[in-house]
């Protein structure tokens, strides 16, 4: 019984990886940092995570249905879930429910489906949503909960967590504070020097993620481990993360060496904000990054440069989201100019010359 006549051409056999396999591998790599983040920030963080992910899936279902297609196979590819997951990781952990829902709506509808769905979008949906939220709701998006691990005395109970998620915080000042980058930026604006500002800074706690920050972005260690695992699995290539981190490190080193009181050290850069999450999980998004190794190197360097510039001289303490979006916009251009050389042709596409014997 010839049941599989078409397609007539090869390859008739194939590699095992499928779209959903890739998405699940990325989620698996995100899992340690996510679990750690939820543990650090307690039940409200879990609420936000669940709300954001499920609303992302819901919006995807609605869009697919509106397009008159069957939703189940599209949902099963895992892309909407991953978008929601990435978005949740970049939100302040005690954000109210509507931040998660609005963010998911922005990411899935405006960031992805209006372009034509999976693979068609110009901008990374999670970053698009995050930046839109940051600009629209600056208060909620910069209210950073203190570290209050689950089951500890500071951690809100389940009932309290529902109140935080659905009705908001009453005693904001008592349980929230600034992130490392935000604190440094504020202090700089009051003309303080780094030596004073960083009196209480602990590199180690920032490295493992014991600090205020977005739900899943605080743990440099776990995110980097997840990212390295993804590279080892062959899901992502090293070009973007390494060039991005290398650029930030290089620039920060130079400026820090020239003026160590006004420019933070590369270690603080690497250790804080969205650096690791962006380098390994956001900037490496297949759809919105260039598709040649050289193009990816350019993309990574561009992201690193913009992150450094925005963090150092911009109005916002963190610039990773903006940097990625700007470089996303440059991706078609990079792909247009940086192409692999075709066998037997030179870089411009003309046939090679026959070597003289």
């Amino acid at each position: 019984m010839i049941t599989h006549l078409k397609p007539a051409s090869g390859a008739h056999v194939g590699a095992k990886a499928s779209v959903s396999f890739i998405m699940w591998q990325v989620m698996l790599a995100l899992l340690p940092a996510t679990v750690f983040g939820i543990w650090c920030f307690g039940w409200p963080a879990l609420n936000l995570f669940v709300i954001t992910v499920s609303s992302a899936v819901l919006f995807e279902v609605i869009c697919i249905r509106m397009a008159g297609r069957v939703a189940k196979p599209v949902i099963m590819d895992g892309s909407a879930m991953l978008t929601g997951w990435l978005l949740a990781m970049t939100l302040p952990p005690w954000s109210p429910w509507w931040i998660g829902v609005t963010g998911s709506g922005l990411a899935i509808i405006l960031g992805k489906q209006v372009y034509g769905g999976l693979g068609q979008n110009l901008f990374n949906p999670a970053m698009l949503a995050r930046v839109a939220l940051l600009i629209s709701f600056p208060i909620e998006m910069t209210t950073w909960a203190n570290v209050s691990p689950l089951f500890s005395s500071q951690s809100p109970g389940i009932a309290d967590s529902w109140r935080i998620t659905f009705m908001g915080l009453d005693n904001i000042d008592a349980v929230t504070g600034a992130t490392t980058l935000g604190y440094i930026k504020t202090e700089f604006s009051q003309n303080h020097l780094l030596a004073d500002i960083l009196k209480d800074y602990s590199g180690f706690l920032n490295f493992i993620g014991w600090t205020r920050g977005s739900l899943g972005e605080t743990s440099t260690l776990l995110l980097a481990l997840g990212g390295v695992w993804l590279i080892r699995q062959g899901i992502i290539q090293w070009y973007i993360p390494i060039s991005l981190l290398f650029t930030v490190t290089g620039l920060a080193s130079i400026f820090h060496m020239v003026d160590s009181q006004h420019y933070i050290s590369p270690m603080i850069h690497l250790n804080s904000g969205a650096m690791m999450c962006v380098a390994f999980f956001i900037a490496t998004d297949y759809v919105t990054s260039p598709n040649t190794p050289t193009g990816q190197l350019v993309f990574g360097v561009g992201c690193g440069l913009l992150i450094f510039v925005i963090r150092t001289w911009g109005a916002y303490p963190e610039g990773a989201g903006f940097a990625v979006l700007l470089m996303n916009a440059a991706t078609p251009l990079i792909d247009h100019y940086i192409r692999p050389r075709i066998y037997g042709r030179d870089r411009k596409g003309r046939p090679l010359e026959i070597p003289k014997p």
Binding site: P7, G10, V13, S18, V19, L118, G119, P293, I342
Partner: protein, 496 residues
């Protein structure tokens, strides 16, 4: 890290599951019962089809010429066994379309009686041109699958004074092991064929390149080549498509063949090991190309094997012999699983290009449920030709074929790496083959339209010229008439 700075010798490629062990570990089978009927296509090669010189009802002997080669690039066809010609007509081709092509149908008489053959005493005393002639007359074509007439290639090699002959023993396609077995069992004959080819091209050096997943074949060939210092046997990395001639040339010689050139123009000629063996048989034994070794494999095959098959044997005969389960066969593939083509049924003949016949079950096949492209660029990184399959496919999907051509459609070698790796199961090669065919059809249509327009313009010009001429003649006639009448009137006036 050093390799990062060196110009890479191998670009792209994939490492597919090999599935070779089932057939590579057992000897070639030579006892396929002679089929009752053989269906011998007149075109089993690149170039013009052969022209039959027998009639229906003729009795022929094994090795007798059935159809002669037509034109410069062509190859003759011989009778794979003795018997009677039943028909010369159109029968379904071994192609996904199974469209009819011209074939000779030979009813075998079971005697397998040879035509008398003439063998030179010492072929190395023959003129090199004579070697080419004999190879051409034997109907030998590239047995790796490209089926380019070997004699033409030998001539080009001689004319261009190539310095290296590469013998392609990579056999990089999964499942296939016919070259592997041939090298293990017939190493001496292959090396002899290589020496004859070298003689035929007036070339000194040969490099036999064998993928390092075939240690037994390498050892056998290495041993057989020991007495001949100009024949070097090397191992090359196992990575599909290592057997792509241009990839192999770059790996072995470091040279890159420019687009639009033959490899002989840069001093290299490449032949398959099977071709070398066929050359040995043609020159040493006077035997034309009548049969070839075919790998029959796949999970639906009960007894997978390498088997010598007379050309023109129907695939169904092979399936019977190897006990293929037709119930579980989800797809029949002629060739390897990467570049081979799916056949609609098994009632099609094997030809000179048939390196393998696979009966694949559904579980072996790639999932065909197409999903949207996620631009993962895996296809870009595996493409050995340096193309961007995802962009080409996007252009083709919206029917912008010219844009696809601009970014390299014509440089695609259909190796199948992109389709293999694609996580969204997009049949990229299918897109590219469709587009190439469509571009060619459009060019032909355009050419035809231009031709028509030219003819039409010429006709219009001609008609205009004729009309003009008639007009002028008419005017001249009228003028002459008026003149005559004037003269007449004048005459009358004079008379009056």
């Amino acid at each position: 890290m050093l390799s990062f700075f060196k110009k890479p010798l191998i670009r792209g490629g994939v490492h597919a599951e090999e599935h070779k062990a089932a057939t590579a570990t057992q000897a070639i089978v030579y006892n396929l019962p002679l089929p009752k009927k053989l269906y011998i296509p007149l075109q089993q090669h690149v170039g013009k089809p052969a022209e039959p010189l027998i009639r229906v009802g003729d009795k022929v002997l094994k090795g007798q010429l059935l159809a002669y080669s037509q034109g410069v690039i062509s190859a003759p066809v011989h009778a794979p066994s003795s018997g009677i010609i039943l028909d010369v007509n159109d029968y379904p081709a071994p192609h996904p379309s199974a469209l009819p092509i011209r074939m000779i149908v030979l009813e075998t008489d079971g005697k397998d009686k040879w035509i008398p053959t003439e063998v030179p005493i010492d072929p190395f005393r023959l003129e090199p041109e004579d070697i080419s002639l004999r190879v051409g007359a034997a109907g030998i074509v590239g047995l790796g699958g490209a089926t380019f007439p070997t004699a033409v290639k030998l001539n080009m090699g001689r004319d261009n004074h190539v310095d290296t002959l590469i013998i392609n023993g990579s056999e990089c396609e999964p499942y296939l092991s016919c070259d592997d077995r041939l090298m293990q069992e017939r190493a001496g004959e292959i090396i002899d064929g290589v020496r004859l080819m070298l003689h035929g091209m007036r070339t000194e050096n040969a490099v036999v390149a064998i993928e390092d997943n075939k240690p037994h074949a390498f050892l056998a060939m290495h041993t057989a080549a020991l007495p001949f210092p100009t024949i070097q046997v090397i191992q090359i990395p196992t990575r599909y498509p290592m057997g792509w001639d241009r990839q192999l040339i770059r790996y072995v010689t470091g040279k890159e063949v420019p687009v639009g050139c033959r490899s002989s123009e840069i001093g290299v000629t490449i032949h398959n090991v099977g071709t070398a063996h066929a050359v040995h048989k043609a020159i040493r034994h006077g035997q034309p190309l009548l049969s070839r070794i075919i790998t029959v494999a796949g999970a639906a095959v009960k007894h997978p094997m390498n088997i010598e098959v007379p050309l023109g044997t129907l695939i169904s005969e092979l399936f019977n012999f190897c006990e293929v389960n037709t119930e579980t066969t989800a797809r029949i593939v002629m060739g390897g699983p990467m570049m081979g083509e799916s056949l609609p049924h098994s009632g099609l003949p094997t030809v000179k290009a048939t390196s393998g016949i696979l009966a694949l079950t559904a579980s072996e096949l790639k999932n065909t449920e197409e999903q949207p492209c996620i631009r993962c660029a895996a296809c870009v990184s595996v493409c050995p030709a340096g193309l961007r399959p995802l962009d080409m496919a996007n252009n083709i999907r919206v029917n912008q074929l010219d844009a696809a051509v601009d970014i390299g459609l014509k440089d695609c070698i259909s190796c199948g790496c992109c389709s293999y790796i694609c996580p969204s199961n997009i049949p990229l090669v299918q897109y590219f083959k469709y587009a190439s065919g469509e571009v060619m059809a459009r060019q032909q249509a355009q050419h035809k339209a231009e031709q028509n327009k030219r003819l039409m313009d010429a006709r219009n010009a001609r008609m205009e010229r004729i009309a003009q001429q008639q007009l002028e003649e008419e005017q001249a006639r009228l003028a002459a008439k008026a003149e005559r009448e004037r003269l007449k009137a004048a005459e009358q006036e004079v008379v009056a």
